[in-house]
Symmetry: C2
Subunit: 339 residues, 2 copies
C-alpha cells in the first residue's frame, strides 16, 4: 500500500497535469503544492509511483504524467465528485424545463452536458423495454394499411406502418384497438409482445383479426429491437481541445462516435444506474484508448431508463465532469417524471 504522502503526490501530479497538459516535475510540484517536503523526497516518491505503474515519463529527463492506472486510483480513492453550485443547478433545471417534447429534452440535455463539461456528450433515448405503455393506437391509412402508434410514459412516440394481408373494416379496427389498449396500457413495454400474442390466441373467430394480431406481435418485437438503440451526440467541436497530438487521436474517436453500437457499449451495461468511469484502455474499443468515458443511468423513477455520459481525453477534470454528469442525469430524470 502506498503511503499517505505518496498518494498526495499522485493527486498533485494528476491535478497539475490536467491543468497544464504538460509533464510535471518534482521541483514544480513542490512549488505549486504545500507538500512540506523537498523536491528530492518527491523524486523518491515519484520513482516508487513509477515503479508501481501509476505514473510514467514520456522521455527520459522529462516530467511525469499519470498512467491509466494512476487516473484509476485517483478516481477511486483520491477524488470526490464535485457538486454543482446552486446557480448552476438552477440554470440546468430551467434550461431543461423549457423543453417541449422528448426530442427536445434529449437535444437540450446533450447541449447542456457538452457545455458544462466542455467535452463530447452522449445521451441515449429512454429505453422502450424499460418504459411502460401509456397508449397504443391503430390508424387506418388505407383499406389494407394500418399505422401503429405507441406512446410511453417517458413521452416517447414510435410508429410503424403495417401492410395487412386483407382489407380491414373500421369497426373491427376499433374493436381491436380497444382490446389492445385494455391489455397493454400501463404494462411494461417488454411484456407487450407476449401480451399481444396472448390476445391473438384469444381470438378464434374472424381470421383477419388474429392474423393482424400476430403481425402486430412480431412487429412490436422488431420495433423494440430497432429503436432500443437511439442516441444523440453533441459537442464534437470540443474534440479539438484534446491535445497537441490530436490529429492522430481525433479520427478514431470521430469514427467511434458514428458507430451507434460502439457508443451503446461505451455507456455501459444499461442495468445498473450507478456512475461509471472508464479510463483509457479500460474501453474495449481500440479507437477510444486515449479517452475516458463518464456515464450514468437516468430515469423517471428510481430505476434507470437509459444512460447518458461524456467522452473526453483521459486527461480530464474527473471530479468536475462527474459532478456535471450526475447533476444533469438527476434533472433529466425529474423532467421526464413530470411530463
Amino acid at each position: 500500500m502506498l503511503s499517505e504522502r505518496r498518494l498526495e503526490v499522485l493527486r498533485a501530479i494528476v491535478q497539475d497535469y490536467v491543468g497544464t497538459e504538460e509533464p510535471v516535475g518534482s521541483k514544480a510540484l513542490t512549488e505549486r503544492h504545500k507538500l512540506g517536503v523537498s523536491p528530492a523526497t518527491v523524486r523518491n516518491d515519484m520513482a516508487v509511483l513509477e515503479e508501481e505503474g501509476y505514473i510514467a515519463q514520456p522521455h527520459t529527463s522529462a516530467g511525469r504524467i499519470p498512467t491509466d492506472k494512476g487516473y484509476r486510483l485517483f478516481v477511486d480513492k483520491l477524488a470526490a465528485v464535485k457538486p454543482m453550485s446552486p446557480p448552476e443547478r438552477r440554470a440546468i433545471q430551467s434550461f431543461l424545463e423549457s423543453a417541449v417534447d422528448l426530442d427536445d429534452v434529449v437535444t437540450r440535455t446533450v447541449r447542456l452536458l457538452a457545455q458544462l463539461t466542455r467535452q463530447v456528450a452522449v445521451v441515449q433515448y429512454p429505453s422502450l423495454t424499460r418504459s411502460t405503455v401509456r397508449h397504443v393506437e391503430l390508424l387506418s391509412m388505407a383499406p389494407a394499411r394500418v399505422m401503429l402508434v405507441l406512446i410511453t410514459d417517458t413521452g416517447r412516440v414510435e410508429q410503424r406502418m403495417i401492410d395487412c394481408p386483407a382489407p380491414f373494416g373500421e369497426a373491427s379496427l376499433a374493436d381491436l384497438r380497444a382490446r389492445l389498449n385494455s391489455r397493454v396500457a400501463g404494462r411494461r413495454f417488454a411484456d407487450v409482445p407476449q401480451l399481444v400474442q396472448d390476445l391473438a390466441e384469444a381470438f378464434e373467430e374472424p381470421e383477419d383479426r388474429s392474423t393482424v394480431a400476430t403481425v402486430l406481435s412480431t412487429l412490436l418485437e422488431t420495433l423494440v429491437e430497432e429503436t432500443e438503440e437511439r442516441l444523440m451526440i453533441g459537442g464534437t467541436a470540443n474534440l479539438t481541445r484534446f491535445g497537441h497530438d490530436f490529429p492522430l487521436t481525433i479520427r478514431p474517436v470521430l469514427e467511434a462516435l458514428e458507430e451507434q453500437v460502439v457508443l451503446l457499449k461505451l455507456l455501459g451495461e444499461a442495468k445498473d444506474p450507478a456512475m461509471r468511469v472508464r479510463i483509457g484502455h479500460e474501453n474495449a474499443h481500440e479507437g477510444l484508448n486515449s479517452t475516458s468515458v463518464v456515464s450514468v443511468g437516468y430515469g423517471s423513477g428510481g430505476e434507470a431508463v437509459a444512460k447518458l455520459g461524456v467522452v473526453g481525453p483521459t486527461r480530464m477534470d474527473y471530479p468536475g465532469t462527474m459532478g456535471a454528469v450526475r447533476a444533469v442525469a438527476r434533472y433529466v430524470g425529474q423532467i421526464l417524471a413530470e411530463s
Copy 2:
C-alpha cells in the same frame, strides 16, 4: 477572356492540386499533362492566371494553388458532373430501398453520401410546409389531454400533446377528428393552420370544441416552425482528411455543423431544387470559409421537399462529388415517392 490553353492550364492545376494536395509547378504540370507546350510557356500562362486572381502562390518560389475564384471558374466552365457508374447506382438504390421508415431513409442517406463522397454529409428532413397531409389523428390520453398526430405523404410523423381547458368526451373527439380529417387530408401542410382556423369558426355551438380547434390552429403553426428545421449529419470523421493545417480549420467547421441554423442556410434557399456549389468565401458563415458546400433539392414529385448536400474542403473533387450528390438526391426522391 482567357485563351483556350490558359483554361486548360487552370483545369490541370485544379486536377493536380486536388489529387496531390501540394502546390503545382510549371514543370510538373507539363510532365503530367499533355499540354503540348514547354514549362516556360506554362509559366507565362500562370502569371496571367495569377494576375486575374484564379490562382495564387502560398510563398514566392512555390507552386500555384487555385483560389476560390479559380475553383468557381473550374466548376462553371471546365468541369462536367461525373455520373455514377451503373454498379454504383444499383448499390445506392438497394441500400436506400431497405429502409423501414423515414428516419431510416434519412439515416441511410447520410451514411451513403458520406461514404460516396468521403466528406461530411448533411440531409434535411422533408419539409412539413411543402408536404401534404395524409392523416391527422387526435388521441385522448387523459380526460383533458389530447395528443395530436400528423402524418405526411413523405412518411413523416409528428406529434404534440395538447392540454385542453376542459375535459373532452370521446364522442365529441371523434366528431372533431372526422371533421378535421375531411378538411385537411390531401391538402398542403402550409394551408392547414388556416383550414383549421376556418373549421373553428364554423362551430357556433359547444364552446369547448371551438376552443380546442383554436388551440389546434396555433399549435399547428408552432409545430411547423419548430420542426421545419430538422436535419441529420454524418461522416464527420472525414474532416480529418481536410489537410495538414487542419487543427485550425476543423474546429470552426465542427462548431458550424452543430448550429442547425447555419447548416440550413448552408444548404441554400429551399425553393430551387437545382444543384448549387458554394466555394470558400462564398459561404456566409466565417468558419466555413475554407470549405465548399455542394447541395441539391430532393423530393418525391417534381418539386423539392428538402435539401441534402456535403461539406468538404475547397480542394475537393467537384465533378465526382456533384455526381454523387445528384445521384443520391434522385434516388431518395424515388424512395419517398414509393413509400
